[in-house]
Symmetry: C2
Subunit: 424 residues, 2 copies
């Protein structure tokens, strides 16, 4: 892991997989086929890509029950507690419809309505991600979404990992389908005989999933195109090097393209953390991935001043930011761009991945400049409400008509003028 | 304007201009050139597409003042009042940072931060759109965005319409540049020597602008890809046919691809409105556009029951919905999908375009199923805040570690376990 002084830093290396032209073409063709042939196309792609031939796409009640029985009771309780914490936090995000009345009788407001139907993509592959189920489904449930459809690629044995089924079962999600990749996104966006179309698709996936989400965006809404995981730690001399190193590695182990960065004004800390990272790397199960990640995308940036350190953090706009200093809340107001901000020595980033309550779906790749964590707001939409009064119409019709005519829109002007005349 | 019974309705014709492959290629090349050559490329494209050779892209103080002097004082006051109304409404949308403390010392919350810089595209062409300036700039100002950059294409005389300059001047927007099309979007997304890069781009434009916004999306945020204007009127026998016809035409005059629809359970009303539309069309200045629009995209849908009428409205998910019935608020709770809902006989749609206060930037083409009007929320982003306490860490570290290991992420588990050990 390189140590570099801020003055020598040109820019941070980051990775976004935009996909190749061939991948994009392939995704477009998969979407087209699923639109045309529905379940038949979905099953064919599942056989081709996931190497399993399925009679039925939907997870059965028996499969849910088996997953539940396979898991030991203590772990079920942990999952349940995590789900409760996540639900409690997200319930605080609920927005309410509001309106405002004027003395002339006019009512203006904003109506909040949950989305009708949402699709959640849960990635497959070697690992199993019950936390991803929680973080995508719970905000939708809290928002009041009635129909939640989950898709996740089956293994070659045609099965879904127990952890994922259990998480879905705990949340009461019944519509779970064994389909992944671009074909899953197409099925969610346009519907098939068994999978009903949704209004929004959330959840991370591989490059084919990301390209497919981008492709269907507009016909349905999507959450965001997630890049590799990132952490930036902002620390002073009061921070302990082993803890910083452990947290940096907790992101580095996700993906060889994950980015782990320490920003500090302390050269001493920089050196200690560098040593610790290499030391702790030695016996990590995913050491190869983590080593590649810290070599290619990891960095320790030493700043001359603390102000420069803060500025560096804002330039990075990290997905996860840890502030480990003597008085971390002092700096909170200065942080402009970060997906999630972890304050103090006890707030190790994994605390937020699974358990504390806030969402772990966060903006990556600098998009914290303009994007937010996944929240309940992402599963509702607003409608403006306008009830103009007779009095307001009389007072304002001429002004509105004049404004409309300036914009060359005569029918607009007449609509209000004729009403003023009629409702004198 | 066709009358059709609900049972015969297959689907509503709607229009989205996805652009041709050639247009897409052209937009990609324009963006590339602006990235490479900055102002020089911008000026070349402006000369080619807008037929004007500009020395300086930025609108000068003198130009603002001239626009101000050219406009009569009464109209300036109308604009000012509209701006005040819009600001008052949007101020009610302000979200606040919040946090919640637990008895164990943990603090969880959500920090709201305005975007640093926003670009507003104001369309040019034959008309002048001060209302578009207001509706895009005011929410950004209310959100607390520090840097607002406006772009709009110049006429062949190298000038911007007075109404647009005046609107910008009233709002105190100083950074206004004479550039339109894909080159304007590229300049906002990536910056040039004179136009600084922004974090989000809002505002409607032609197909080149829409394609360019789609292309830069991800590097910056965008509002939405707006389609042609739409209105659906839901009315019973208490509604007056001339008013409905006038409101339908106020959308139809926007664009030959605009969609104006009446949904009712009254055959009598349907026939009266049909007659009125044709009658009022006769002497409209933009009659050609409006006629084409009502012929191609207009429709009167007669339903058997009122429930069916409500269902039809939700199926359409219109940009603008008017409810003109004996007791319109009765139906508000049943409306699930609409950009803006206008209630009662005095709430003619143009009231909302210019003056009442809510935003006129609304989801089109059925995207009200999952999209919202432009609001102050679109100009802020959230960051999760997590300050875990020592006590919470001690209580929960083992659970978090176990969860992490289920997901195969050992470094995550160690980060919390080692901390638990150290802070006993």
């Amino acid at each position: 892991m390189k140590i570099i002084s801020k003055s020598d830093l040109v820019s941070l290396k980051r990775s976004v997989d935009q996909g190749t032209e061939a991948q994009r073409k392939s995704v477009q063709s998969i979407i087209e086929q699923v639109k045309l042939h529905g379940d038949r196309a979905v099953k064919e792609y599942t056989e081709r890509f996931d190497k399993t031939a399925l009679d039925s796409l939907q997870v059965t009640r028996e499969e849910f029950e088996k997953a539940y029985e396979a898991m030991d009771g203590e772990f079920v309780e942990i999952l349940q507690e995590a789900a409760d914490n996540i639900r409690t936090f997200h319930e605080k995000q609920i927005s309410h419809s509001w309106f405002d009345t004027s003395i002339d009788g006019t009512i203006l407001g904003q109506k909040i309505t949950p989305l009708d139907a949402v699709g959640v993509y849960v990635p497959g592959g070697t690992a199993t991600y019950p936390s991803s189920v929680f973080m995508n489904v719970i905000p939708a449930q809290v928002a009041g979404v009635e129909k939640i459809v989950m898709v996740t690629p089956p293994g070659e044995d045609g099965k879904i990992p127990d952890g994922v089924l259990l998480a879905a079962h705990i949340l009461g999600v019944e519509n779970v389908y064994k389909v992944g990749g671009a074909q899953a996104i197409a099925a969610l966006a346009y519907g098939t005989e068994t999978i009903s179309a949704v209004d929004k698709i959330t959840g991370p996936g591989n490059v084919f999933v990301a390209l497919a989400k981008r492709e269907v965006f507009g016909d349905v809404d999507i959450d965001m195109i997630a890049g590799p995981s990132e952490i930036t730690v902002l620390a002073d001399d009061t921070a302990l090097a082993p803890e910083i190193a452990a947290d940096l590695l907790s992101q580095a182990e996700h993906d060889a393209r994950s980015s782990s960065v320490l920003v500090t004004a302390s050269e001493d800390l920089a050196e200690k953390v560098q040593t610790e990272v290499h030391h702790q790397l030695e016996d990590l199960p995913r050491a190869d991935i983590a080593r590649q990640s810290v070599e290619d995308y990891g960095m320790i940036i030493v700043c001359d001043t603390w102000d420069e350190a803060i500025e560096t953090v804002n330039d990075i706009a990290p997905e996860h930011l840890e502030i480990i200093t003597s008085d971390p809340f002092q700096h909170l107001g200065k942080i402009k761009h970060a997906g999630a901000i972890f304050l103090g020595p006890y707030s190790s980033e994994p605390v937020g991945d699974y358990f504390a309550g806030p969402n772990h779906v966060l903006p990556t790749n600098g998009t914290a400049r303009f994007s937010s964590p996944l929240t309940v707001d992402d599963f509702v939409k607003k409608s403006s409400v306008i009830s103009y009064s007779r009095e307001a119409l009389q007072t304002n019709a001429d002004k509105i008509a004049r404004f409309a005519r300036l914009e060359g829109l005569e029918a607009h002007a007449r609509a209000v003028e004729s009403r003023k005349e009629r409702w004198k």
